[in-house]
């Protein structure tokens, strides 16, 4: 058996049979990281000693005949937005460069309880805001399929580490497509679960009504395994859904009889790349050949999804990020310098007799907040905080925020109507394959428009998965998106497995 060619599900069987130990497996992946991560840049933080200690403890317990958890001995990479007790959690931001959480996120506690080996924290766009991982304050992540291209974002490190065999399983988060788009760009399988399926406790908040953590892996089977480990009701998160977690691993291999697939005409409009279009249509045929029926549907408000999202998400972000005040944790500006500058400004205004500007001059506390936040946040985070503060400010609240909340309901109602007639909605995850690093840096709006097919699922709170379904002429992966009604992850996984049983796109590796 070659470890690096195996899926997590296969590795789990090898571990259980005693053919490989958790420590050996962890060593193998650590060696991969050592060899490849300098070029890829998927990880912000790898703690080999911590991982090996964890792995050895699991091996010891296995030898002693202890009952082990669902992931016993499997390495898992974690996006650096989930709090890990005693282990730096940066969110890709200078603001939290040295932040060491005093508690574990529930996802982390669950991974530990499942006996996973936490191998490292992965790179991301700062506070999960972005679609290319270029907004990380620390480093760029390169797409393993083409190093001059983006791995996608914001979970770029999470997808790139699976694509380049540096981890078999990986946790990302998805607020507007941040698991599915990088999964598509890197040729891996990634799921955004239903809002509420996975606890958000300890997931550093970006937009609380949209954020959801989820798994990335090579196959639907592996995604099922990881989802089963992290899903479930959590009293520590009042938005966590009080529903039972099905055994996804038990059912993922069962094909869906009489599967009804919806094809939304809005997903095949202007801007969809010709090769992506062809690959998705080919994928639909793969389902048809297994007995699925295809129905044309309409999601009439989907064209408003980006506008809706780029009001709601920044509004929630501006409110959530108010906590970075330079007082409780995180970065604080150099106070001496700040106070000296303020004193000089005051002196100059006094000398000029400028009463008006003197009255409006920041107090030292306000100036401390402003300097701290301006130095600690990157450009994209500041843009979104500004956008949200503007949309929520007096006189604009109804015109922007409340309006967007109303359109959000219309988007959800489109889905509710569609899912009366079909089981799943099938379409592209992204309009194009991975774009070049640096291509969109100066043009935020064009970058935002990339999220066209993914943001609706977050606004509506439904579940969705991206599955590799082709490779472009220039050798880049293409992603197929399946969307399901709330809490229908089982259907998504079974359908994704049906597809992977009939195709080999998910087995392709870069270069």
């Amino acid at each position: 058996m070659s470890v690096l060619e195996s899926t997590a599900t296969e590795l789990l069987a090898e571990l259980a049979a005693g053919n490989v130990s958790a420590a050996e497996l962890t060593q193998t992946y650590l060696a991969q990281i050592e060899d490849h991560d300098e070029a890829i840049g998927a990880f912000l933080n790898v703690d080999a000693e911590r991982a090996l200690t964890q792995a050895e403890a699991i091996d010891t317990r296995r030898r002693a005949g202890a009952k082990l958890g669902l992931l016993a001995g499997l390495p898992v990479a974690v996006k650096d937005v989930l709090c890990t007790k005693g282990w730096t959690t940066t969110c890709g931001s200078r603001m939290l460069e040295h932040f060491v959480p005093p508690y574990d996120a529930t996802v982390i506690s669950k991974l530990k309880a499942a006996d996973a080996v936490l191998i490292g924290k992965t790179n991301m766009d700062e506070f999960a805001m972005g679609g290319s991982t270029e907004n990380s304050a620390f480093k760029r992540t390169h797409n393993p399929w083409a190093l001059d291209r983006t791995p996608g974002g914001s979970s770029g490190g999470a997808a790139a580490c699976v694509a380049s065999n540096m981890a078999p399983l990986s946790i990302g988060t998805d607020t507007g497509g941040s698991i599915r788009q990088p999964a598509a760009f890197c040729g891996v399988t990634g799921m955004k679960p239903t809002y509420g399926r996975v606890s958000r406790y300890g997931l550093v908040a970006f937009a609380s009504s949209l954020d959801q953590a989820g798994p990335l892996a090579r196959t639907a089977e592996d995604v099922a395994l990881l989802l089963e480990a992290i899903a479930g009701h959590d009293p520590l998160d009042s938005t966590s859904a009080n529903v039972s977690t099905p055994s996804y691993t038990a059912t993922v291999r069962e094909p869906l009889a009489g599967l009804r697939l919806g094809v939304a005409r809005e997903h095949f409009g202007d801007g969809l790349d010709r090769e992506v279009d062809a690959a998705v249509r080919e994928a639909i045929k793969v389902f048809e050949s297994q007995g699925a029926s295809v129905h044309e549907i309409s999601l009439p408000h989907s064209k408003y999804a980006i506008a809706t999202y780029y009001i709601i998400a920044p509004c929630e972000a501006s409110s959530n990020l108010a906590r970075y005040d330079g007082v409780h944790y995180g970065y604080r500006t150099d106070e001496k310098e700040m106070l000296a500058e303020l004193a000089e400004e005051r002196k100059a205004l006094e000398a000029a007799g400028d009463r008006a500007r003197l009255d409006a001059l920041d107090s030292s506390l306000v100036r401390m907040y402003r300097e701290t936040r301006s130095e600690g946040f990157g450009a994209e985070v500041k843009r979104r905080v500004m956008l949200g503060s503007y949309a929520l400010s007096a006189g604009y609240y109804d015109a922007y925020y409340v309006k967007a909340l109303k359109v959000r309901r219309l988007i959800r109602e489109d889905y509710d109507a569609a899912f009366k007639d079909v089981d799943l909605i099938i379409g592209p995850t992204t309009a194009t394959a991975a774009f070049k690093l640096g291509e969109m840096n100066e043009d935020p709006l064009t970058m935002y428009l990339q999220d066209l097919y993914t943001v609706s699922a977050n606004l509506a709170g439904i579940a969705a998965i991206s599955v590799p379904c082709g490779i472009t002429g220039s050798g880049l992966p293409i992603g197929l998106q399946l969307q399901a009604a709330p809490f229908e992850e089982e259907k998504l996984l079974r359908a994704a497995h049906m597809f992977q049983r009939a195709t080999d796109w998910h087995t392709r590796r870069p270069g």
Binding site: H98, F99, V100, P102, Y103, Y195, G196, S209, P235, S238, T239, A241, Y304, I306, A307, T308, Y310, G326, V327, H328, Y329, G330, R332, E335, L339, S363, S364, L365, V366, M368, R370, E371, R373, S374, K382, R383, V385, M386, L387, G388, S389, Y390, S393, Y400, K403, A404, L405, K406, V407, R408, R409, L410, R412, P444, L445, Y448, L459, A460, G461, P486
Partner: protein, 96 residues
Amino acid sequence: MGLTRDEVAKVSLLARLRFSDEELDTLTTQLGQVVEYVRQLEELDTESVLPMAHVEDNHNIFADDLPRPSLNREDALANAPKRDDECYRVPAVLGD
């Protein structure tokens, strides 16, 4: 119509951010483009639609009022940029 530079400057105080003149110019253009784009929502009649702030129909989730351990002071203060023995330290608020 996008945003004015004055509006952007005013919002920067609300957002507790601070920008150079050059940054203010760039932001005025960039935010203006986004605001103009999102205004397409105006073409939809939403008069009779209820706002949806959250996808779940859960309303109040009550927890039993039972004491349980919270973070101890040392752990809570461990990440503070500046602290006294028992408190967070901030610049003087009064007196200037």
